[in-house]
Amino acid sequence: MTEPAKPIDKQLDASRAAAAHQKQWFAQLRQDVFEDGAPYVIANVDTPADVFQSMDVPVVPNQWWSAVVASRGMADFYFDGLKALGYEGKLCRYCSTGLASTLVDAGDRAPWGGLPRPAMLVTRLACDCMQRVFSLWAKAFDAPLFLFDSTGASDFQLRWWSDCRANWESFHQTHRLDHMTAQLHDMIALGEEATGRAFDTGRLRSVLELTNAQQEYYDQIRTLVATAPQSPIRIMEAQGTSMLAQWHRGTAWAVDHARAFRDEVADRVQRGIAACPDERLRLMWVGAGLWHKGGFYQRWEQSHGAVFTWAEYPAFGADAYLRYGLEDPVRALASRYVAIREWLHDPPWAGAWYAEEARRNRIHGAVVLVPTNSRPSSTGSLFIAHALESAGIPTLMLWADMVDPASWDDRSIDAQMLDFLERRVAPKAR
């Protein structure tokens, strides 16, 4: 078993509030589910959890649970257990950590005592292994499974981050949007059956309105960070905080938290507070957070004045989740999920977005995490690097996993970062 991950040095009240709420939420979930037998759902992050939010059914996101397992230093234990069960080779780590925590008995070391049986599981077939992972998981729980087909785009509109907020109907190919909408109705029907809770369109609309309000605050936060002379916050702290709150989107708490978060960032900007007063180099982090190596991001502040000032969240929340025009809330929600994963990883959408964000945030250098044990999270990396380099942003690719500490070699990573900062980023910044 590895040591629990060293956390990021937190500076924000918003982070503490999010962590406290998450702890409280999970305690409540355990109370409701264990004690009272209330239904809950396990869902991959690229599926519309908002529906369950509107039905008052809690959702445990697969990737959040992976992060919980990794941050408690249990990833190695579970991966060894999977191997002992015959699941060997380069199988996806990020998406299967949760499955491993169910298949492998960790006794009283299981984080939070382990997940109980969900009412149903939901995933999207954006990559082949999702079907296998979730089928095994559903079988282990003897719970129903809903699979969203992932249609393929053959029309490539680029500026999804700006053009899809209001004009989503014309942005997507109609047959793809139709199909996702129909699938959403199918999932709702299964969800009602599995959870015993009724779905209400008006309630979903309210949830999406609250989601929009939350993301609008994130939009303001990302603008504050991009335009401030120095970054007022450590972006990886902001990413962790906004991702935690993102799991609760559609609730009044999430809106209140996002507003307080925005206020706190605005206050820091107004008072000239910088996360790192010696900020000289602004770095972009492309990829999921290093759940097992939180201290990595601050490591370069003192030595090089190199500060990570951009990460996927909160920017992705604003750009991918906002949906205006909620007359048909199911269809509006479907428009968010037609291509959400592709936007983040695949050409042409991902590279175009990262390059745009790098320009907007005055980035001096980008670090792209390429997790070789999670192909869905790492395909498109060379195109992303190309797009960034073409935009004049020096780019370093780190080949390591976000949840599997065995793939991380401190000495090698440090050497790459030093070379990158000193030979490529610093001269460029000058």
Binding site: L85, G86, G89, K90, V133, T151, H175, H179, P347, S381
Partner: protein
């Protein structure tokens, strides 16, 4: 400018069995020869990836459907854009399309049936967009979905109509039901010819070696169906050659090469069945000739073709389970190479099925195309331990 698809040429005079067999082996082994011969047919060549593109539509349009594949080797152009963890076949095809290795293709049809194929489509589209894809042909994504719901079937039928329209545009003429009907008849003749080969493997002892069977089945991916069917029947006119030894079934990552089969034969065994589309699953059921032609073609690919998309696992293992249950398989090799991130999820279940049916099984993890001494030794120990009479 759309390509004009001329009529299909008739097959040439029949060679003797030995010559026919050599021709098929040669086409299978030398992909450059296969591509050159496709172009020499005079028909517009349409590249297809994998086994889930309805090639009957291409035939109905008067085109030559050429399966684009590749085996492990240097891929310098592709390496610029494609991460090293992609499967060897996908890497090779990507590199081949970037460098024009498959010749001038009228169209390249890529199915959505695996994630790697979809990424290949996106990567090719992107290199074109950013100005590095001068050799890349026109592309078409055939968006066959993964679930088997009525909803995804309806979606797939519409995508099939779109593909048909695209091919009609290439052909410069409408594609009629008669065209489709003819293409079905052609495919079913190929099905019959392949069936004759599979019957030889079902014999005890097998009348075809595993390596030859794989080459003879696979060659059909690079030929016009009627030419292939005729050549295959020519090759089978030799009566067959007895291949004694333990009879093995291979399941797992699809094999577009004979490395594993050769290693089994070197160990004294014979592969008589593969649960993959290059081998025994290249036939499946014939296409219904009585109903709506387009729907019949679609349903063949929607319901009958093996691929990553098949769900649930009981359906994915149906053929494998039934084949083992026939009782004529002495051992199973489950192939889950290091570059795989999918077949590995099926390994414990595959082993459990074999165990339940009393068939010994082993898991091969190394790359069977470049099999190591350790891999050969593992296979030899396994095969020799099967104690076949």
């Amino acid at each position: 400018m759309p390509a004009q698809f001329p009529d299909v040429a008739a097959p040439g005079p029949a060679p003797d069995a030995s010559t026919a067999r050599s021709q098929l082996r040669d086409l299978y082994s030398r992909l450059d020869v296969a591509a050159a011969q496709a172009h020499s047919s005079g028909l517009p060549v349409v590249g297809v990836l994998g086994n889930t593109v309805p090639v009957e539509l291409i035939r109905a349009a008067g085109g030559f459907p050429l399966t684009l594949t590749g085996r492990a080797g240097p891929t310098p152009e592709g390496d610029r854009w494609m991460e090293p963890f992609f499967e060897p076949e996908v890497r090779a095809v990507f590199d081949g399309l970037l460098t024009g290795r498959f010749g001038p293709l009228a169209l390249c049809v890529i199915p959505r049936t695996s994630d790697q194929y979809f990424k290949l489509f996106l990567y090719l589209t992107e290199v074109q967009r950013i100005g590095h894809g001068a050799q890349v042909p026109p592309l078409h994504l055939y968006d066959l979905l993964h679930t088997r719901t009525q909803r995804s079937r309806s979606y797939g039928i519409e995508r099939t109509r779109e593909l048909l329209a695209r091919l009609a545009q290439c052909a410069g003429r409408p594609i009629t039901d008669d065209d489709l009907g003819q293409a079905i008849v052609e495919s079913n003749r190929r099905h019959v010819a392949r069936g004759a080969l599979l019957a030889r493997r079902g014999n005890s002892p097998a009348l075809e070696s595993g390596t030859d069977a794989l080459m003879l089945l696979g060659a059909g991916r690079f030929m016009l169906p009627d030419h292939y069917s005729a050549r295959l029947l020519d090759a089978l006119a030799d009566g067959g050659r007895e291949c004694p030894g333990p009879r093995l079934l291979v399941r797992g990552f699809p094999l577009n090469h004979t490395g594993l089969h050769a290693a089994v034969e070197a160990a004294g065994g014979v592969v008589v069945a593969e649960d993959d589309p290059w081998g025994s699953r290249s036939t499946g059921h014939p296409i219904d000739q009585d109903g709506d032609a387009l729907l019949a073609i679609f349903d063949k690919y929607f319901r009958d073709e093996p691929s990553a998309r098949v769900h649930p696992d009981s359906l994915r293992r149906q053929w494998y389970t039934q084949r083992l249950a026939t009782g004529d398989i002495d051992g199973v090799i489950v192939y889950a190479p290091d570059f795989d991130d999918l077949a590995g999820w099926d390994v414990p279940g595959d082993l459990a099925v074999a165990r339940e049916l009393g068939v010994p099984a082993t898991v091969l993890r190394g790359d069977a195309e470049r099999i190591t001494d350790k891999g050969s030794s593992q296979i030899a120990v396994f095969v020799q331990g099967l104690g076949h009479d």
